[in-house]
Symmetry: C3
Subunit: 275 residues, 3 copies
């Protein structure tokens, strides 16, 4: 497996732009539009479909499946289980975003039901969500984390091994942990990214696109998080220099997902390998 560095991560970016993978999303109402635009800006081909009558067919033609429980209802969980089974049967990557896990018992049951149907390839959440999925009593506050990402690392490592999945704990520092114990930290990004709804969910969607072109899900997850992190900090700097705010950041993020160049990516990447 390639050792993740700026060159190998950038190669994944180019692969997404060139291969334009079809990413099937079953995601929440709040972020559907923004996630579709994020995938399009990146160069991927999003499709959103949730009907139980067609999710098997859609997952059957996609190169990756992204599941996000941000706005649930029973029919949607059922559709997610069906799509997850199809995706696993075909061997395409599945990325799960347990939005708000820990906030309500219903979300916890939904996560349990999904995990019972099959492990995802990658699980991405904030610290509270990852702790909750691991069964650790965690403080949460709606869909925001009440814990720092650093606090969840040991739990995430164990969870990765148990699920056989890459686990990404996002926060001021992103931690990405592989089932085999590999661990990297990313320190890119900007705090304003938490004030645009759907940026975390977009990270999950982008991981789906990267996993579609990079068979090492650990590498793909790092590439997606690193790319979004660099895009975000460059965009935030531009927006602040113009005296603009988080509205403009939302748009500048999409511009950056399309236009970021290799030179900026290399100059800005803050990747630390931890083993």
């Amino acid at each position: 497996m390639p050792f993740p560095n700026a060159d190998s991560l950038w190669a994944d970016v180019l692969a997404v732009r060139q291969q334009q993978p079809l990413v099937h999303n079953i995601t929440n109402f709040v972020v559907m539009n923004y996630n579709a635009n994020a995938l399009l800006a990146l160069g991927a081909a999003p499709v959103m479909a949730h009907a139980r009558e067609e999710v098997r067919d859609m997952a059957g033609i996609a190169q990756a499946l992204v599941l996000n429980i941000g706005t649930l209802s029973p029919e949607w969980i059922e559709a997610m289980v069906m799509a997850l089974q199809t995706a696993r049967g075909r061997g395409i990557p599945v990325v799960l975003d347990p939005v708000g896990a820990g906030a309500t018992p219903y979300r916890n049951r939904a996560v349990a039901e999904l995990l019972a149907a099959g492990s995802p390839t990658v699980l991405r959440g904030n610290a509270s969500e990852i702790l909750s999925v691991a069964g650790v009593e965690a403080a949460t506050r709606g869909v925001d984390s009440a814990a720092a990402s650093d606090d969840a690392v040991q739990t995430a490592r164990t969870l990765a091994a148990r699920l056989g999945a890459v686990v990404c704990v996002s926060g001021a520092t992103d931690h990405i942990l592989a089932p085999d114990g590999r661990h990297v930290r990313l320190s890119n990004g900007h705090v304003w990214m938490t004030r645009v709804t759907g940026v975390g969910c977009s990270a999950t969607a982008l991981i789906g696109a990267f996993c579609a072109v990079q068979p090492d899900a650990f590498h793909a997850t790092i590439a997606a998080m690193a790319y979004l992190g660099v895009v975000g900090e460059v965009a935030a700097a531009q927006v602040q220099a113009q005296g603009r705010g988080v509205g403009q950041l939302q748009i500048a993020l999409l511009d950056g997902l399309q236009l970021l160049d290799a030179e900026t990516f290399h100059a800005r990447l803050r990747l630390q390998t931890d083993d």
Copy 2:
């Protein structure tokens, strides 16, 4: 209760920014993303959740509940009733936006069902919607008002007393009426704000955030409407000076919700007390 003036209203803005109240929204599909971004830009913490399986739990941890009937279906009304009951049981504020009331019998029945389950703390709508909620035969046109806000004031005053709720009739002039007869007019804003979908619904969501930090719902409603009105007229002026249009206004509004300063707010506020 504080007499509403620029200083006391600005204090509410600072309180929202500092306390970051968790606002539970059960709202329509069209504006979910924009309302979440408006609340985040303001400094509040939005959560959107509509499943009957979890709305009681979510309303149980929120500091305010916002109900918006813009895109209804029976399950959503049921969920709204459940969340409303939980919120009232806990004594947290409930803000109701009767989008399109009067446009179809179904919307009228939905409003009646919600009001039967419990009065909101604040009711915000355009003139047609408020007239319709009051049972006055009103001309409506889809979700747009066919009446001027000034025409609905007397009806709104009676409605406020009957419901024991603050009633806000928004329009070129916003009228805010308390159950005890207090009444203020706000003349901020810009007509282009009606050409960005979800700005009215965002006003309702912002009222929720302000009510979470200001126990006098009359004062909180004035603060939210005044803040959005000033943000909107400043944003519209900037956008027009750049030769841009209502697309850019949508973004500039979010920037302004984050960045408006006390000086501009004081200089621009057009508040008239009516008693």
Copy 3:
């Protein structure tokens, strides 16, 4: 019927701006917000409503009905059929966007069910979708076309005659075909428009607004597609000149829908009549 030229098409634009037709949309979750904003920017009055309990009433007060199958479920198809029947009973125009037709059997069945309930006034899709609706085995890829619009012209011509509907095949060149054999090509637009989600769906929504003010649906469809095409290429040129990307394009498109002037429209229109 007016021969479509820049003057007659621009007259339709002015008619929409002046009459502000109420357009009832039953559309997908991904694009609801963007389509509502596109209609508002153009000067029309959008309403989104999907509940079976109210679609007949909403279609009963609208000037046009737009149906879009982008994110389906059984209740939505049922609601679309009800609204379609009401619209046809009242003689208002119906525009159908068969998003992703051909991608899954469920979508094909949905289209068949809608067409069985009544022909639309206008059918707009990309080449794959139109070929699929016509029953031609077509390559599709999620919701993106795998065929060029030129390849679908003959099939679209036959389909227009069979349905008694205007058929619009959009792509690098847009083909618009009337049931009586009239055919025009439009060569405006910019490839980046395909990287903003909902632009195609917005085209469909705009056609609804134009059909509400122009009884010749062929003329109205050309006007809508020409207007959006010119707006899009002007916006793309501006965005690229600023070093911005598809995020900014999304916003610039809305600005342009509001602000495009007659002079630019006349100078840029690339319309070719084919008979």
